[in-house]
């Protein structure tokens, strides 16, 4: 069982470039999330989705966009990358039926220069 898969694992972007972080899960979870992790700051929620076609902003949504066209996929789009978006990004999924546990991907390390 693959769980939550994120790509790419590492990426360097120039200021102003755009990119998409891909996330897919094979557990049929309705809930999916994107977090960013900065040193000493824990995890901050960027966007979340409670099902296909439904997304909502988290704590730090500015500079990002998401879509959820299928249950499995939840891509995160960075528009006009800025140095402040240098971070580690985690995709995650959950469902109350799975004991309400949230499952994480391995992370995507993004550097904006």
């Amino acid at each position: 069982n693959a769980g939550v898969t994120q790509t790419p694992k590492f990426r360097i972007l120039k200021i102003g470039q755009s990119m998409t972080l891909q996330c897919t899960q094979d557990m049929n979870h309705n809930y999916m999330y994107w977090y960013r992790q900065d040193p000493g700051m824990g995890l901050k929620l960027i966007y979340y989705s409670v099902g296909a076609g439904i997304t909502d902003k988290g704590e730090v949504p500015n500079g990002y966009n998401v879509s959820r066209s299928t249950t499995e996929d939840f891509p995160l789009r960075l528009e006009l990358a800025a140095p402040s978006q240098t971070s580690v990004y985690f995709c995650a999924s959950s469902w109350p039926g799975s004991g309400n546990t949230i499952y994480f991907g391995e992370g995507s390390w993004l550097t904006v220069v």
Partner: protein, 114 residues
């Protein structure tokens, strides 16, 4: 709304010594509580969780935690740590019936020294 406070940003401890990582939460409703571990350059994986029932919860790798409702705490313990336990540990809370609103603490770095 819920919140989580991990009282220590870093906990150094010698190998084979006991350790306690502290977590306090606040909530006006019933909660589910979790501890996750993050090894270097990896994602977060579940150590243990409290949903209901016994307040003493046992997890993987010899860790356990106790839910204390009166003190709104969910401290993580291990009686004897190993070098391989060096990692970042995150406490998390979600309200019952709100399965998508996980709140994470800022993490505690456990550093096990030989």
């Amino acid at each position: 709304a819920q919140s989580v406070t991990q009282l220590d940003s870093q906990v150094p401890v010698f190998e084979e010594a006991p350790v306690e990582l502290r977590c306090n939460y606040s909530s006006s409703v019933s909660v589910y509580l979790f501890w996750y571990v993050q090894y270097p350059n990896q994602g977060l994986q579940l150590l243990l969780k409290y949903l209901s029932g016994s307040t003493l919860v046992k997890g993987i790798n010899g860790f356990e935690a106790e839910f204390n409702k009166s003190q709104t705490s969910f401290h993580l313990r291990k009686p004897s740590v190993h070098i391989s336990d060096t990692a970042e540990y995150f406490c998390a809370v979600t309200a019952e019936g709100q399965g998508f609103s996980f709140i994470f603490g800022k993490g505690t770095r456990l550093l096990v020294k030989p």
